[in-house]
Amino acid sequence: MMNRFDTIAYNNRLRKVPPEQKVFFSFLLLLIVMLGNRDMQTVIIIWLAVWIVWYARVSWQVYVKALLLVSAFLCVSLPLLIVSIDHSFHISVNSSNISLVITLCFRSIAAWSCLFFLLVTTPFTEFLYTLKRMKVPSIIIELLFLTYRFVFVFARAADELHVAMKARSGGNHWRHAAMLIFQLIQKTWLYYEALSFALRARSFSGEITYVQKEGDVLCKRYLFEAIIGVVMIVLLGVIGGELL
């Protein structure tokens, strides 16, 4: 799952659009979703689906699968909000809560769409670059960058360990899981030592810099649509009357 999303983030049609624009766009939409009413949220869900599937050319199967997973989770957690139990353990269905639940459904899926848009169109390193331009403290960015670097190495190591264990007919016993975790810790430690040697050999002074390629061209067509769209959605909210 993680690998697939990351691959998509590097190979989509919106990859060349400057990351600041994508980050700003999705954060702005997220803000509108949190403050706006249901009409605005519905429009945003549909509009972002168009961005993700059509403009970014993310396979619709991936999108639908991810959406279904989120909806399944929502469906599991929503009944809890409708049913209410009082002190004498009478279970009752609260009809006044149904509208709340529907509001919640729309808001969650719309907010998730914003997050998913960011996830599949912007590679993590470019997101970090945007954070850097937003003057986020460098230690956070360094930690995020290093963690990102390690995550895939370990995911692979863990995979290999798992395959190796299965190949030796390791079972499903929880003791095996603990063994796996311990071996991962050991591999991690070896990797850490190797990396720290390598960094020391290159006279590591505590700061890690990395190169960000410049020269993404501003794509006027998408910028134009984004601005017009956001203005229309805000207008829809103002005309609809109930912002907040």
Partner: protein, 246 residues
């Protein structure tokens, strides 16, 4: 009840439990957009001081010893991989240990606050679990309260004569439990019950989550003890290095 109805019921129930158990750790992460704006802001405000404190302690440590940055990133990645991978576990299902208990005992609660939040951010941006608006609330439960409870129990236990393994088990178990109780409390505050208010709503969430979270916490406790055993047997040197480092 005839056979088909029974089969249908069993089918529905098993689907419900499969989904609710496979999403059980996501249940510990409140999903994007689930909380109303005022609670989003509230939990972010609670979370930020802890984060800044953790960051300051981290800065102090890494200024003295820049290599520790690597180690922190490593532990973050490790926690993330644990939470993202399906690990063979009890009852044939797959559960995702949070690793917060072990991390807090190894690295201390403040450092774990920062790393826990970073792991949450990764889960949001690489897997679309949890979210950016609910990051504050999730971080308070998983990265602030969980490590604090684990570390508190560990410190208190080390002063008594209880065996170390039992202490580690209790630390991991209660940090998991604390995380889920705080999450239930957050949900109850945001969605109070129409008849019984916040307390009824809290009991409702705690009761429902207990079905999946108590076995999960037990599993995590046992796993942590076994990992700790391995660490003590084979990696005593590294453990001592860690103690000196952080």
């Amino acid at each position: 009840m005839n056979k088909w109805k029974l089969a249908l019921l069993v089918c529905c129930l098993s689907i419900y439990f499969t989904f609710s158990s496979s999403t059980s750790t996501f249940a510990m992460h409140i999903m994007e957009g689930f909380l109303p704006v005022k609670w989003v802001i509230f939990w972010w405000i609670i979370f930020l001081p802890f984060f800044i404190l953790g960051l300051r302690s981290l800065l102090r440590v890494t200024r003295k010893n820049p290599e520790l940055k690597l180690l922190m990133a490593l532990s973050g990645a490790f926690t993330f991989v644990l939470s993202a991978l399906k690990i063979p576990s009890v009852t044939g299902s797959s559960s995702h240990p949070t690793g917060v208990g072990l991390g807090a005992v190894l690295f201390g609660p403040l450092a774990m606050t920062v790393m826990g939040s970073i792991v949450l951010l990764f889960q949001a941006l690489l897997l679309a679990h949890g979210g950016l608006t609910t990051l504050g609330a999730n971080a308070v439960s998983m990265a602030v309260v969980g490590p604090l409870v684990a570390y508190g129990i560990y410190c208190f236990g080390m002063k008594t004569s209880i065996s170390q393994r039992l202490i580690i088990f209790l630390a991991a178990f209660f940090s998991d439990l604390a995380t889920y109780v705080v999450t239930s409390f957050q949900l109850a505050l945001a969605f109070p019950d129409a008849t019984g208010g916040i307390s009824a709503s809290f009991l409702k969430f705690v009761g429902i989550f207990a079905i999946t979270q108590i076995p999960l916490a037990l599993t995590e406790g046992l796993l942590t003890v076994i990992v700790w055993n391995f660490l003590c047997t084979y990696s005593r040197h590294e453990l001592e290095q860690l103690r000196k480092g952080v």
